[in-house]
Chain length 98, copies 2
């Protein structure tokens, strides 16, 4: 049982989960939903981008820049594998309980 | 949603899960089951002991020293809380999928 540290790190796990569940989210929405600072979010997003797990979309809305993030196919796959691993760990507990 | 870093760290999460499921385990059994080095196990067990999550039992069996570990009540509680948090994250994904 291996845990990918890119996905497993607590804040990134929550970013992955949020993007996976919601499809996409703006930078501002992520800081608010996850209650993390802009600097913290930026550094984790950068690592996720470097690993080709997150794609960025920058556009102007009402002349204001808006940055939107979504998981890439690779990001979705890594996250799904990770959830499978966590579920296997949890299922293992229940099996041994009985 | 908060992840306790003591429990969440990948190797410790597996140590917690193994001890939780099996009740107790020897030092040797843990290195073999989890496929980690003695040094790696010792350093994680030390952190878990410092946090009052693991209790140690040292005895002699056939004149050989044997060290056995088990989770303390606090360790079990922290682990159960952590599993609840992970399950909530996973359940959140399924709810948003539908």
């Amino acid at each position: 049982m291996e845990f990918d540290k890119l996905v497993h790190q607590p804040t990134r796990l929550r970013i992955f989960a949020h993007l996976y569940a919601n499809g996409e989210a703006s930078f501002t929405a992520l800081t608010e939903e996850l209650e993390i600072t802009e600097g913290n979010l930026a550094s984790h997003i950068e690592r996720m981008e470097d690993a080709d797990c997150v794609a960025v979309d920058k556009e102007f809305v009402d002349r204001k820049p808006r940055t939107t993030y979504r998981l890439t196919e690779r990001g979705e796959e890594l996250f799904e594998d990770h959830i499978d691993t966590l579920e296997a760990l949890i299922d293992g507990l229940e099996a041994d309980d009985s």
